[in-house]
């Protein structure tokens, strides 16, 4: 299965000078527009949020437009929809990262051919995302072997959590395992 990607230029709501995503009120308006877009997406689609129109963003703006969206996705309000940020500069980074860390959330960011994980995520989970991105997709068993976990369960639990956080996608149906049983295949958002 391949994930569908939809690009979306984030535009702030309510400012006089264009490109100022600041204050909670404007952040909320921006969030509503983004959320409406996410609601239109079909399952297994990534919304690539392009911030090139945003000249200035404060923490409240970042909290509403990025963190609250990530939180709603994590809460399962729109299952199997994902976000990836792009065209973010250092000014955006400063405030998005602060807002993510305060709320213990994480997002994936694409930048000039590279990608990063911003926010609050422990390193072993980050490592799993890196492995999956390297290979394109992986199962719990493959992760267990790759990361030398003692049990498949351990890998499975971690993958489940990353999927819940919308940092990886997964095939809708479990694939059969040789020797019996079924397992999910997890897919990178990059």
């Amino acid at each position: 299965m391949s994930l569908k990607k939809v690009s979306f230029k984030v535009k702030e709501g309510g400012s006089v000078n264009e490109g100022f995503l600041m204050t909670r009120e404007r952040g909320r308006k921006t969030k509503e527009v983004i959320w409406a877009k996410i609601s239109e997406l079909s399952p297994n689609t990534i919304l690539e949020m392009d911030f090139s129109n945003i000249k200035f963003m404060d923490v409240s703006g970042a909290d509403e437009a990025v963190v609250k969206i990530a939180a709603r996705l994590e809460a399962g309000e729109c299952p199997d929809r994902f976000i990836v940020l792009s065209h973010v500069d250092l000014q955006h980074k400063e405030n998005i990262e602060t807002a993510l860390k305060v709320n213990k959330k994480a997002v994936i960011v694409k930048e000039d051919g590279s990608w990063y994980i911003w926010g609050d995520l422990i390193s072993s989970y980050k490592e799993i995302i890196h492995k999956i991105t390297e290979k394109g997709s992986m199962t719990a068993r493959e992760i267990q072997e790759e990361m030398n976990y003692k049990t498949v369960n351990e890998a499975s639990t971690k993958l489940g959590l990353l999927y819940k956080k919308c940092l990886i996608a997964r095939e809708p149906y479990r694939e059969a395992v040789v020797g019996g049983g079924r397992q999910f295949r997890y897919i990178s958002l990059i």
Binding site: S15, V16, M22, F56, N95
Partner: protein, 318 residues
């Protein structure tokens, strides 16, 4: 009855030999010393002033506003110097203070020729009473403060973004937290850069930090104003969603840059000094009641160990 108060430079500055700290406090001097003398309309005589910096000038502006608010009449303000020879007046004019003062005081004195001070080292005094004003200040902060931080004060690019963003947030606080009931919020910002430091003042005549915090949390009702200012500098105190980080992050920047942050509001002034070796730490200074909030920021060049008086005069503050 009208009284005259002659403002002179603050003797405490030179006595204490901690010029940078007291420059931040110069506003306090003007306000505390002059305001009680002005029982009515009043008359402020600046003719002896030979030196003034952004904090002092903003202090005079706020003092004139307070007089107008309290007595319903504009104070008479005698400008420094007698004629176009006054460089102090020129400086005040060029940074926009004279224009602002016209609205809140009867300015008496000859308008001097203006030098072009609206260069890359200055943000002229700017009034902030809505988010559009904050947006305009943000544009100035990004075009002026960031290059100063990077090129003159050795800040990394990301640190410069952080600092400019935080200053913008302090300006936003004026619009979001300072308004008195039924009144429009308003405040001012001014910035001046020197060879090896940057000074910035943000002030408003609003509710003030202690009153804002006390109205939100009963827990703080009996705490003194200095403690409340300290608490406001911790994560998440001021906002309804416990997300307020502005003052906390500002303090982090000041620590990282070994600078000074001065916050005055209510009956206290907190001085967070990470610059002067002999006085590093937080100091709570009880002060007469101040209507709103005054925030002074001093950021030195990063590798600089000493700054202060020499720096001010070397740069030619006039």
């Amino acid at each position: 009855m009208s009284e005259e108060y002659k403002i002179t430079t603050d003797k405490r500055i030179l006595d204490d030999k901690i010029f940078d700290t007291d420059i931040l406090g110069q506003y306090d001097y003007i306000y505390d010393e002059a305001f009680p003398f002005l029982n009515s309309k009043g008359r402020l005589d600046l003719r002896n002033i030979k030196f003034i910096n952004p904090y002092g000038a903003l202090g005079i502006l706020i003092l004139c506003e307070a007089i107008l608010d309290s007595f319903g009449e504009k104070a008479d303000l005698l400008l420094p110097g007698s004629s176009d020879e006054s460089e102090v007046t020129s400086w005040m004019g060029s940074l926009g203070f004279l224009n602002m003062l016209q609205g809140v005081a009867n300015v008496i004195g000859v308008s001097p020729p203006l030098y072009n001070f609206n260069g890359p080292s200055y943000i002229p005094v700017s009034k902030i009473d809505n988010l559009e004003d904050v947006e305009n200040v943000v544009v100035e902060l990004f075009s002026k403060v960031r290059p100063i931080l990077i090129n003159k004060l050795n800040y990394k690019e990301e640190e410069s973004y952080r600092a400019a963003t935080l200053i913008a947030e302090l300006c936003q606080n004026i619009c979001q937290h300072s308004a008195l009931e039924g009144e429009k919020p308003h405040g001012y910002i001014v910035m001046q850069a020197y060879k090896s430091s940057l000074k910035l003042a943000v002030m408003d005549l609003g509710k003030g930090i202690p009153k804002t915090v006390k109205s939100k949390y009963k827990l703080y009702e009996k705490r003194d104003d200095g403690d409340i200012i300290c608490c406001a500098c911790k994560k998440g105190i001021l906002c309804e969603d416990h997300f307020s980080l502005g003052l906390y992050r500002t303090l982090e920047i000041i620590k990282g840059g070994r600078g000074i942050l001065n916050i005055r509001s209510g009956n206290a002034k907190m001085l967070f000094d990470y610059h002067n070796k002999n006085s590093v730490g937080n100091k709570k200074i009880p002060t007469p009641f101040f209507l709103g909030t005054q925030i002074g920021i001093y950021l030195p060049r990063k590798e600089q160990k000493r700054g202060g008086l020499e720096d001010e005069f070397e740069e030619g503050i006039f």
